[in-house]
Symmetry: C2
């Protein structure tokens, strides 16, 4: 019995080793193909330079959809189609303005209206400023708010090593600050940009109004100018600020998830989804957020096709229509999947920038997570991925998890530079490094291959 057990184990181990060898060789082919013949960087160049910023409902949204269809066809998708999806239409209008006024001196401020915010009247608003460093301070000073512009001066906490925690901590002021100040009679709000950058670019992003309260204009201000306002108020409490924004919301319109598919050989009706979001904020080119996620996902398909890999499951690349504003793209995709009773075995997303990968977050039970850590990390570590952290996907694939319990995952690149660019005018192509981008595509392709071959 011992001998047969031993023999059995030996066969088991040698077949595991053989599989690992084969996987390691195939992943090396994936890497070589992407590093030698990859299209992610040139695809990103086309998207950012010929389409540019592509907020939902804008003419660029439709141009981006056309780009996506073409890129997926060129990558070798068996079929490519558009999935209709209602999307919001918030419009910035003419460039917003802001000035800090101290006595006779006026200095313009680097600002961006926040997504979904309302504009000012034609003449703008000039009002005294109340600086608060937190919501707690707002509550303490609620009697001083009326008629003022509230300036939220909450700083991105540098102590979080993973910067997304710093973002999660600070973004409350952008999201909810306007209504919380309007409750006490504020006429507008300025929010220190949610960034750990060392420059003065303002960073926009979505905000939400509490519909039971007056809607007041809301703008993000660059880091240096946030300091400038704080300094000015220390010198002179009577400093005022002028703002003028032309932002407004129009009725919803129709956008599309752009979908490309390689049909599976064994389980054509079972789907593996990999995607990024096609929409972006308007002030720049939407390079890291989330052009890189789109081209990563297209590259997964291109590479598997180029290497002649025949997936067991159908692999779908989805360029989601709306992540930035209301998350309509991901919701629509899961909703239609539910209607059609599709079976979704995995969803992977890239929406944390085109930086060198470090890991994937993944929603799996502890034993399965431990298993893939043991078996797959040795295959990926050479390419930079050394951890599968316990977590979910992003906003676009999480609805699959909610609807079907599908395991979902997100690429976790190094996060140090992400919030330098996020939602700001410097999120352009030149700030993406070709090799860092390609390493993301390599690891995503390898993960899709492993999931297709072994499941969880």
């Amino acid at each position: 019995m011992y001998r047969s057990l031993f023999t059995g184990l030996a066969i088991l181990f040698s077949s595991i080793l053989f599989a690992q060898k084969e996987d390691s060789v195939f992943i090396r082919q994936i890497a070589d193909d992407i590093l030698m013949n990859g299209k992610s960087y040139s695809n990103l160049h086309t998207l950012t330079k010929t389409v540019g910023g592509r907020i939902t409902g804008s003419p660029q949204m439709y141009k981006a959809e056309d780009w996506g269809m073409k890129a997926l066809k060129d990558a070798g998708a068996d079929k490519v189609w558009l999935q209709e999806c209602k999307v919001p239409r918030w419009v910035r209008g003419d460039k917003e303005q802001a000035k800090l006024i101290v006595g006779n001196k006026e200095e313009s401020l680097a600002v961006l209206a926040l997504g979904n915010s309302v504009g000012t009247e034609t003449n703008g608003i000039t009002a005294p400023v109340l600086l608060v460093n937190s919501f707690e301070e707002l509550e303490q000073k609620k009697d001083e708010v009326k008629g003022k512009i509230v300036f939220y001066n909450y700083k991105f906490n540098p102590k979080f090593i993973e910067t997304f925690y710093g973002y999660g901590d600070a973004v409350r002021y952008r999201g909810a600050g306007a209504s919380r100040a309007a409750k006490y009679g504020a006429v507008a709000v300025l929010v220190r940009s949610v960034t750990n950058s060392t420059d003065n670019y303002p960073h926009t992003g979505a905000m939400r109004y509490d519909n039971s309260l007056p809607k007041v204009p809301a703008l993000a201000v660059g880091q240096w100018d946030a300091d400038k306002i704080a300094d000015a108020l220390q010198q002179n409490k009577n400093a005022t600020i002028f703002i003028k924004t032309n932002a407004h919301t129009m009725s919803d319109t129709t956008g599309h998830n752009v979908i490309g598919e390689i049909t599976g050989t064994e389980f054509p009706d079972q789907y593996i989804t990999v995607g990024g979001h096609l929409d972006s904020w308007d002030p720049a080119e939407g390079a890291h957020d989330d052009g890189t996620g789109c081209v990563h996902s297209i590259e997964v398909l291109r590479t598997l096709k180029a290497l002649g890999y025949k997936p067991k499951h159908s692999i779908r690349v989805v360029l989601f229509a709306d992540e930035e504003n209301r998350g309509d793209g991901g919701e629509k995709y899961a909703e239609e999947a539910k209607e059609k009773k599709e079976k979704h075995v995995f969803g992977l997303e890239s929406d944390a920038g085109g930086f060198t990968p470090r890991g994937f977050s993944i929603a799996l039970p502890a034993d399965k997570l431990e298993k893939i850590r043991k078996e797959w990390i040795p295959l990926l570590q050479e390419y930079g991925v050394y951890e599968f952290s316990n977590g979910g996907g992003g906003a676009d694939v999480n609805p699959l998890n909610k609807t079907f319990g599908t395991p979902v995952s997100e690429l976790r690149p190094d996060s140090q530079r992400y919030f330098d660019y996020h939602h700001s005018p410097n999120d352009f192509f030149e700030n993406v490094n070709k090799r860092e981008l390609e390493l993301g595509a390599i690891n995503m392709t390898a993960l899709i291959y492993l999931v297709d071959k072994y499941g969880f």
Copy 2:
């Protein structure tokens, strides 16, 4: 017996756990202090913007030494001194020129003379070009070399994930190409820049002549222009190139290793060295190479001092005088240590850029390496370091290993962007990210703390 063994083990484990807890708390303090009060970024700003490029023997070398003395004093060193060190003095002179000439058409090329190369006569050299893709091809075509400019068109291999391997593979042509071509009568050489960048910056760096052969001028050419030359030669074999360089070598002069020390409390005569090199190539500001290594090392001292840590061993920060050219700084430091019979317990170097750290390479026996992997990686992983690879230090601390057998180590940051900047005109401050730089300093400080406390 089992019970006492169990009790013994329990005490052992709990004391290990207690120590790990204490270490983890202290390393968190290191991180917080660097992220909140760190000086590495502002130190780098001063070095790059007020001193700039600082090749050995240049006036900037002396300015850099003054900067280093002051920065170390400001960081809280117990003593700071200069260690005299003979250094080479290669001078670029007036800006080099190169033109590609096809028929009547002349196009200027982005070039930099290689370090240690000789210049041309006043009128420059105009000659036909022989393109070779490798030394093998040079040997095959040796009869065609005479009177020509040999153009080494060897490309940086993108398949190496760790870019330093790509560098090691391609740098042969920069180092030895001139003499190997001169052997067959070449009048000069051009070398495709040793970089995986997507731009056209030329990248300089050291070359060496074989003194038994004629010395011919040698220049690096930018990537786009290397392609341009190759294309032109395909169209027209009679294309010629004009070059003019004013490079020359003067007699050696005196530079200095700049040294700052915190004196140890238990073993003041045993040294832990941490350093980077103060010299840089001249075309830019020497930011990633190796301003970041200098400010990393100074930050180790500043942080330990700021936190009131009293090291057991004396900790020395060394800003080495010459790494780029002949390696005189590191050699001198080890030589004097030998003369003085110093005991060196550890040498750590940062000379791979100010990018987010991934690991340390370290020269240790396998069992010791395994031990620190097990005990220290869990302490560092939160800050980005997940591996101790088997390897040595860099050129500056390796002489300690050679002289005394001292364990030496080097910070291994993510390498994807390093050769975009290395030795090129875009190695300037703005290409260093504050947080990435600071994470390097955090991990280096933590490693020095652990080595001081536990040894190997």
